[in-house]
Amino acid sequence: MPDTLLDVRNLIAYYMTPTAPVRAVDNVSFNVTEKEILGIAGESGCGKSTLAYSILRLLKPPGYIRGGEVLFKGSDLLKIEEEELRRIRWKHISYIPQSSMNALNPVMRIEEQIGDAIINHEKISKGELRKRIEDLLVSVGLSPSVAHMYPHELSGGMRQRVVIAMAMALDPELIIADEPTTALDVVVQRGILQLLRDIRSKLKASVIMITHDMAAQAQIVDRLAIMYAGKIVEIGDANDLFNDPLHPYSRALISAIPSISEKKKLKGVPGFPPDLRSPPPGCRFYPRCPHRIPGKCNVDEPRLIEVKNDRLVACHLYR
């Protein structure tokens, strides 16, 4: 049994609004073991980024954490002192944000920005630092000369590579990547995915890979969690889940993956996700579910339970 690195328990994160709180992350539990890549998939707006911010304790007002625990190697990141948290950040957990377009400081050279992360956590000589930064850039397929450039001199794909290099700078145990490919055009996306796959084998870190792009998920993750309207509805081994999705939402999502070989028509998931300020009672997928059981699914909230080996599903169809 591999060791658990991150254990998220009953995490609740809301956004304050004038009417009612947006229940963006509502009682989410999962764990990440060492050296595994966990994918988190779900439609836009289901709370994936909020989940990432909450784990990193970077959620900004009007967002706030209402409850739960984020245990990283046993200590609760939500409770530890600011200074202790500061030392864990990047050294142990790094982050690739949703839009790396704006993740780089426009008035600092690339070397300064990567260097900033390194010297903040390690004692290192100037020469070694420069060498390290150049090696990092090369490892993500960039020329070492990028070190002296400013962000505006780089293309979107290059910036994304810089951010990936930065995320690996301190050999962290966990990398949280929030939609690392969505802001890029398709060709560049493919390059970044290839890069992620390449470094995956060299990497000693665990990765939480967030995306609404199921095709991207399919290529690199070990385990997969499906999120819907602030909740995890299914989680399990990625291959198994792709081949045999159990939750009706997972099925809809996976059958919506465009497949070139089968020339299948892109179906999408019919209907719209609920307003998270007033989600439907019972199962949140109820209004869109083709297999719903009236009188049950819209009354009882299904709990996430293990229905077969390493597969948890929150659905009344499986009990």
Partner: protein, 334 residues
Amino acid sequence: MVSYRKYLVERTLTFIISMFFSITIVFLVPRLAPGDPIKTALEQVIVGGGSEIEKTVEEYKRMLGLDKDLATQYIFYIKELFRGNLGYSIMYFPTPVIDIIMRAIPWSIGLLTTTTILSWIIGTFIGAIAGWRGEGSRFFNILAFIALGLYVIPYYIFAVILAYLFGYIIRIFPLSGGYTPGLMPSLNLEFILDVIWHSTLPALSIILSSLGWWFLSMRSMIINVKGEDFILMAEAKGLRKNRILWKYAFRNAILPQVTGLALSLRNVVGGALLTEVIFAYPGVGYLIFTAITNMDYPLIQGAVLFLIFTTCFLNFAIDILYPLVDPRIRYGEE
């Protein structure tokens, strides 16, 4: 670069046309005014017989070219302007007007440059910290409120208040002049300290009136920058709050602030005319004021024209230099 050339031509033409109109108006006004300003002025200065005055008036008119027709006078006037000749002062006769102005200029520029920069530094730094603390800090919210007050009050009001406060109630600063009368203007410590001492109140009034704006603009800039992704990223990197403020937030927010400083330098000559008058500070503003009270027409004309020229020129210079300096405009062209 084509658009910049067009812009340059446009600015240059605007500058030339405004100068042409200013010169013409300054030339015409005293000549179209009823009465004979020279005679009126001389009657106040020269005590004595009428024929004496008549002769002096004739003398003056010939010297100033006033015995010719208007068109000839105008051409003569412009010719002399280009030679840097603004005529002769009446109250300091026969000192050339340009010499008197040149003596006043360093006072105005010195006072305004120093106060603008000081006020910019203070306002920018306090504003940065206030913005970083955000809207949640009570102390800084009160400060922002005060800054807003400073910003909306006209600058000469501060001069009046300070003059009253320190001139009548707490008499620790001199109320008028640029230095103690009798002291020889020179570059020794005694004179410099004396100048600083005399400049304190005028300087303070200018600083107070511009401080609010620098504070508010920097504060809102920092608040804006704080929401940027690269700040979140810096936080995720585990950097200390202070480092994030100065290396990430401040360095970005300062760019528009520097632009603001450069733009405000267009006012270094004529930015505080009334302050100079209130404190009898020997700059261009006070010079114009004394020239008016003494009906020294050539001096009024010369000083006003000079003021218009420097202000127009600084505006022009900043307008044409700015696109070359601001990278955002440059990148926009690529």
